[in-house]
């Protein structure tokens, strides 16, 4: 069996290259793979396109990644939260691009990328500026927007349990985008709270089958700082 476990976050992200598209799990701070993000900052990669629901929270995680100049473009559904002041500063200075995508469409575009499909039709965004430059397709007399798949060169995922095959579970609502992103990247890099033995996760309880996972490291994030408003 392939050894997917690596020693630390630095080794997990060691293959991330300049200009890569990186899917980043999490919703706000829930399920955000912060240790992997810190390791990415430490590598001083440049020109990343990052995909996350938000555009950073304070000067940690995605905020730090942006603040240290690693990011060329953000694809997200909610760029304007108060806590995303680092993004805001870079955006207003014209140093970073943004693509704003409705949250359900964002999740579905990533799933679509993972599922090897070429696109999907949705009514979300019809008659809004989101529809600009998009194809409108009529099916049975109803109009839909054609939305395209979104894949990453890498996905950064925060899981709860991991076994040696890379099977993953998620802790409560830390699940969010993580399992969807884990299907939609060429390399799936995981930080998990805890490793368990082969066969210790009930096959019916696995959320992300190990075949999607390339590397994992153990970082216990359960003892997180309490939630902050934002």
């Amino acid at each position: 069996m392939k050894n997917k476990r690596v020693a630390n976050p630095a080794e997990a992200v060691s293959g991330v290259f300049d200009g890569a598209t990186v899917l980043i799990g999490g919703f706000g701070l829930g399920g955000l793979p912060e240790a992997l993000l810190d390791a990415l900052c430490d590598r001083k990669v440049r020109g990343l396109t990052i995909v996350n629901n938000n555009s950073g929270h304070g000067e940690t995680g995605i905020g730090r990644l942006i603040g240290e100049g690693c990011v060329a473009k953000v694809i997200c559904s909610f760029p304007t939260s108060k806590a995303a002041y680092v993004f805001k500063e870079w955006f207003e200075a014209g140093k970073i691009e943004v693509e704003v995508v409705p949250q359900g469409t964002l999740a579905e575009r990533i799933r679509c990328g993972g599922a090897g499909l070429g696109g999907f039709l949705t009514r979300t965004g019809l008659g809004t500026e989101i529809a600009e430059n998009k194809k409108v397709v009529a099916v049975n007399g109803r109009e839909y927007l054609l939305e395209q798949p979104l894949r990453g060169d890498f996905a950064l995922v925060e899981a709860d349990l991991v076994d040696p095959r890379g099977n993953l579970t998620y802790r409560m609502a830390a699940r969010n985008f993580n399992p969807v992103m884990a299907t939609a990247a060429d390399q799936v890099l995981v930080q998990a709270n805890r490793e368990v033995g082969l066969g210790d996760i009930d096959p019916a309880v696995v959320i992300t089958p190990g075949l999607f996972v390339d590397r994992y490291c153990i970082v216990d994030s359960v003892a997180k700082t309490p939630a902050r408003a934002g």
């Binding site: 919703f27 706000g28 701070l29 829930g30 399920g31 955000l32 629901n53 559904s77 909610f78 760029p79 304007t80 939260s81 955006f91 943004v98 704003v100 409705p102 949250q103 359900g104 469409t105 999740a107 579905e108 990533i110 799933r111 949705t122 009514r123 979300t124 965004g125 019809l126 008659g127 809004t128 500026e129 989101i130 998620y170 802790r171 409560m172 609502a173 830390a174 699940r175 969010n176 985008f177 993580n178 399992p179 969807v180 959320i207 359960v222 997180k224 700082t225 309490p226 939630a227 902050r228 408003a229 934002g230």
Partner: protein
């Protein structure tokens, strides 16, 4: 225009909370809509859905310091779960939304047009706005309940003939709850259902761009 008359925030919240029926699946937007939660009786079993994959979200924690980042609402605040809650991934969370499984959503708004068009994500002329899940929810929910002040801070109507703000979704709004009135969006047009204390039909019409149809059952209270 007298600003001291009309519904209090508490009364608005109560009206919206009263609209929600037992067993409904409901998504509550961040901001003003969140204020309704304390007005939903604990024994009225409503399934609250949160975009980040919580089905059966319970009340916010009284002490956020006791919160857990892995159990946050869409507004990123620590919440609890009701018995029989479940978690789904983000794509599946929007299967619930677009798949027609939300009986209602409560959203804030900048503008609502006569035909039910909604604007609530971006200010005109701004380069950036955030729709989060609002576009999907406005399209997918069976009932889109809007909670907003009747007019802007400088007194202009927010219920308009045609949106001048960027649209969130078209033809989606079901009912509008403001500090001055409750108005239904129907095929025939906007129907004034209820007037706030101290408001007259004429007052409300004056602060509403499209012509209002007066409900036969118009309540004043």
């Amino acid at each position: 225009m007298k600003t001291s008359i009309g519904y209090t925030k508490e009364q608005m919240a109560q009206h919206v909370a009263d609209e929600l029926q037992e067993d409904w699946v409901v998504n509550v937007g961040i901001g003003l809509p969140l204020t309704i939660l304390p007005y939903v009786p604990v024994d009225k079993d409503i399934i609250f859905h949160s975009e980040n994959g919580i089905i059966g979200m319970g009340p916010e924690l009284a002490d956020p310091a006791q919160g857990d980042n892995d159990l946050l609402s869409a507004g990123k605040r620590p919440v609890s779960l009701i018995p029989g809650a479940s978690f789904v991934n983000h794509a599946d969370s929007f299967v619930v939304v677009r798949g027609g499984r939300l009986d209602a959503t409560i959203l804030g708004a900048y503008q609502v047009a006569e035909n039910g068009d909604l604007a609530n994500w971006k200010l005109p002329g701004k380069r950036l706005g955030s729709m989060g899940g609002a576009m999907d929810i406005a399209v997918g929910a069976k009932r889109v309940l809007i909670m907003m002040t009747h007019v802007t801070s400088d007194g202009r109507p927010k219920i308009v003939k045609t949106l001048s703000y960027p649209a969130t979704a078209r033809n989606c709004v079901t009912k509008i709850f403001t500090d001055r009135a409750i108005i239904s969006v129907t095929q025939r047009g906007l129907v004034l259902e209820r007037l706030a204390p101290g408001s007259s039909v004429e007052d409300v019409q004056a602060m509403t761009e499209p012509a209002l149809i007066i409900s036969e059952k118009l309540k004043s209270s």
